[in-house]
């Protein structure tokens, strides 16, 4: 191995690149060949090149507490994560199966709730879900599709088996980094790229636009599609702007829209222009001050009325949050069996629900060994990392669980897989996960690979951008 890999150890984690005995895995051989003989300085230069490109293009995110709105570059690691073809096909099948079940589940929950009546999912789990919208019971959505865009997070355990960590069925973000990462890799390592046959990802936006057009009201073949953003102060604004521009659609804030007589319009210099489909990156809660939070200035008064009348379609629909609730997650394998009569191809991580007495007992007795999560937090907040926690932290979680048992889940600490990442001046293993993006329209389209997120801090298992995470390009091979 060249200098960069000097001292590289997999320890007992599943390493993406190396076998436990230190041999390089077949699909990483060409990568190793390229990096062997590269000095740390050369690699550093490549990294600077990539960072500069990101800076100039403004590929950034904003951390919530920033007053001045300083934008940060989402740290990018130059060693790609490579997935051989067969492995990916397995993942793809699992993801397709899963999103089909989720959409069937949502349809069922908002209609006759057979899955509850047949005793598979307890009624109280549904009704106590923070994002369940009972106001939409019996409401039919275009083409019966609830989740059009889903980001499902996958991890690998010690044996390298892919497990589903969670689904993100409301407003999953990150795909813009994925697309920009690919651009960066092509620019910085063009030769490496040509040694592999990597499946392209550039068609994502076209596919997304197809899905959005597909769900137009009354099958309108030429709908006006817009992207609704909370605005420039939102941490994911770069992505909103990027997607709108790449799809060639208008990006709007709530104030640009007006609902009159059940139709949504854009305020343009030539008058009001009708809007048919809205890709909304705003939470249900902020969507319509007449229906949800009355203090929201981000939404459009009357938009829900237009939605109910079938005059405007929303992607994703209202109420999908009941499907990405961390407690509902527990039931997804059961959903797959119930609706599809199949075994789940991608298993869940073993999960305990404090809602169930037996599980709760187990959780409270094993806090220091478990990862405990609050049902509705995201970004890595509201979480207890058992093995790293203090007695006070565990005590406060114990009290919270006993006070509100419906609201917590626990999982064993998974020894997440690692991938070599550039740290200071050499490579070290860092924990990663994978977020593929699944589009559900006329057909299911899954972007090859997805966003590989890296926990850049040594030993950290938290990959979210707001807490020190970064990302890698993900290569699905075509051979």
């Amino acid at each position: 191995m060249g200098n960069l890999f000097q001292g590289y150890v997999s320890e007992t984690f599943y390493d993406e690149m190396f076998e436990p005995n230190g041999d390089v895995r077949g699909h990483y051989e060409r990568l190793l060949a390229r990096y062997t003989g590269m000095s740390s300085e050369e690699f550093q230069k490549k990294r600077d090149l990539a960072d500069n490109a990101f800076l100039t293009q403004g590929v950034t995110f904003t951390v919530y507490n920033d007053q001045e709105g300083t934008e940060r570059i989402f740290p990018f690691d130059l060693i790609p994560r490579i997935i051989p073809r067969g492995e990916w096909e397995h993942v793809e099948r699992g993801l397709s199966q899963r999103i089909t079940a989720l959409n069937l589940f949502l349809h069922d929950i908002y209609h006759d709730q057979h899955i509850v009546r047949d005793g598979i999912v307890p009624a109280e789990i549904i009704h106590s879900a923070a994002h369940f919208r009972p106001e939409f019971m019996g409401f039919d959505v275009p083409k019966d599709i609830y989740i059009h865009i889903c980001g499902t997070d996958l991890i690998r355990d010690q044996e390298g088996k892919y497990l589903v960590l969670e689904d993100n069925a409301r407003s999953p973000s990150g795909v813009s980094y994925l697309l920009e990462n690919r651009q960066a890799m092509k620019r910085v390592f063009p030769n490496l790229f040509s040694r592999y046959l990597v499946r392209p990802v550039d068609t994502y936006c076209l596919e997304l636009l197809d899905v959005l057009r597909f769900i137009a009201p009354r099958g309108n073949p030429d709908p006006t599609v817009v992207l609704l953003t909370p605005g420039i102060y939102n941490s994911a604004y770069f992505e909103h702007s990027f997607l709108a521009r790449t799809m060639g659609i208008e990006i709007v804030v709530g104030a640009d829209l007006v609902a009159q007589e059940g139709i949504v319009y854009m305020k343009t210099t030539r008058g009001l222009k009708r809007v048919d489909v809205i890709y909304r990156r705003i939470d249900d809660d902020f969507l319509d001050p007449q229906v949800f939070r009355p203090d929201s200035v981000l939404g459009v008064p009357g938009i829900v009325d237009a939605y109910r009348r079938g005059n405007v379609s929303l992607a994703n629909t209202i109420g999908t949050g009941v499907a990405d609730d961390k407690v509902t997650y527990y039931f997804v394998p059961k959903m797959i069996r119930y609706y599809l009569d199949q075994d789940p191809i991608l298993p869940n991580v073993e999960t305990y629900l404090s809602h169930f007495d037996a599980d709760r007992k187990f959780i409270l007795e094993n806090l220091e060994n478990l990862v405990v999560k609050s049902a509705n937090e995201s970004g890595g907040y509201g979480m207890l990392m058992g093995p790293q926690s203090t007695a006070e932290q565990r005590e406060s979680f114990r009290q919270a669980i006993e006070k509100n048992p419906r609201n917590y889940v626990a999982q064993p600490v998974i020894r997440l897989s690692r991938s070599p990442s550039f740290c200071d001046d050499h490579f070290e293993g860092r924990h990663i996960d994978l977020r593929p993006y699944i589009l559900y329209g006329e057909k299911i389209t899954i972007i090859p690979g997805g966003l590989t997120r890296v926990a850049l801090r040594k030993g950290s298992l938290v990959v979210n951008s707001s807490q020190g995470g970064g990302s890698k390009d993900t290569w699905v091979l075509n051979d």
Binding site: T56, N234, R245, A255, K267, L298
Partner: protein
């Protein structure tokens, strides 16, 4: 295009132009102060504030009129929405909300100017050399306008930028011309004498018009010729007529109505066409008979009406924020509020 975006581009342009003009005006007047006796400086500064219509605000913020206070007020004062600093800050804020519509180069330039101003560098440069300081602002603004021309598609958004720029410029030229009215000759000096001439030259310099004037008239700097040049010249890009003609042209590009045969579709076009006709056919004699100050005052009023008509036509459904002041002749500031709620 979205009304909000058109509005943001319009004001981005107006505020950049305003910053540039204020810088030029400050620069010239500071130099003028050096040429003329200090006794009259008080009046001079007073008149600058008066023409900028900021007397009320100035009196509120500063105890008395002194040169330093005025310079500070016009250049750096954050509480003055029309200070050079505030203009650049507001322009940048507008640019931020429409980053998709402007080119990368435009954003980088306006951002650069803002970052410079909000760091301590601006004040330091000003203290070291006011000449360099104002030159920096001028060049920054000119670069922005040049980059806009060269890198932005000349589409509807670009026309709104032109609209804002020329409307603001017409207004600024009229105010600069008006300063002279307020600057009285020190007692003992003759009309047409040296001091008077120097003051008129300063007016021209404030519009970057001294050399173009000389090229056109080839003679002494004479009041009625200065007025003619700055109000009615057809080719000088800062004359009021040139500006109104350009903004009328931009309006017609936006509405798609041909300019021939005096056609118009919207109220704003009717008003700009009317103003343009007045400018083409008014004589200097008529202007002086009305009174230069009165004429310019009326001009500013008409420009404000045009600006409001533009807003009404293209953006009337945007929520009105608070507007400053009740008088018709107030300096215009942007009506729309920025949405600040974080998700």
């Amino acid at each position: 295009m979205l009304s909000r975006v058109a509005d943001a581009l319009f004001w981005l342009s107006r505020y950049t132009e305003r910053a540039e003009n204020n810088a030029r005006m400050m620069d010239v007047n500071l130099q003028l102060m050096l040429d003329v006796q200090p006794l009259t400086n008080h009046q001079h500064w007073e008149s600058i504030i008066f023409t900028l219509e900021d007397t009320k605000l100035f009196d509120k913020l500063y105890p008395g009129i002194a040169g330093d206070a005025v310079v500070d007020f016009v250049t750096f004062e954050r509480k003055n929405p029309n200070s050079i600093y505030s203009c650049i800050a507001t322009a940048r804020e507008n640019a931020r909300t429409v980053r998709e519509q402007i080119s990368v180069e435009m954003w980088e330039q306006i951002n650069r100017m803002y970052l410079f101003f909000s760091s301590g560098d601006a004040k330091r440069l000003f203290q070291n050399s006011t000449y360099e300081f104002f030159k920096w602002i001028l060049e920054g603004s000119q670069l922005f306008q040049g980059v806009t021309d060269a890198t932005m598609a000349h589409d509807e958004g670009w026309e709104f930028i032109r609209l804002g720029m020329f409307l603001e410029r017409a207004d600024r030229t009229s105010r600069i011309l008006d300063i002279k009215y307020h600057i009285l000759l020190p007692s003992g000096e003759q009309i047409g004498g040296n001091v008077d001439t120097v003051q008129w030259m300063a007016v021209l310099k404030s519009c970057s018009a001294l050399e173009p004037y000389r090229k056109h008239y080839r003679g002494q700097v004479v009041p009625w010729k200065v007025v003619e040049f700055l109000v009615k010249n057809q080719t000088f890009p800062r004359s009021i007529l040139f500006c109104v003609d350009s903004l009328d042209f931009a309006l017609h590009k936006i509405t798609g109505v041909d300019r021939g045969d005096f056609q118009y579709k919207v109220e704003a076009e009717r008003l700009s066409g009317k103003l343009l006709a007045d400018l083409c056919f008014v004589t200097i004699d008529e202007i002086f008979r009305t009174g230069l100050h009165q004429y310019l005052d009326k001009m500013q009023g008409r420009l404000i009406v045009i600006s409001k008509a533009i807003y009404k036509e293209f953006c009337e459904w945007l929520e009105e924020g608070e507007t400053q002041g009740e008088e018709e002749e107030q300096e215009e500031t942007q009506p729309t509020q920025f949405q600040e709620q974080k998700n």
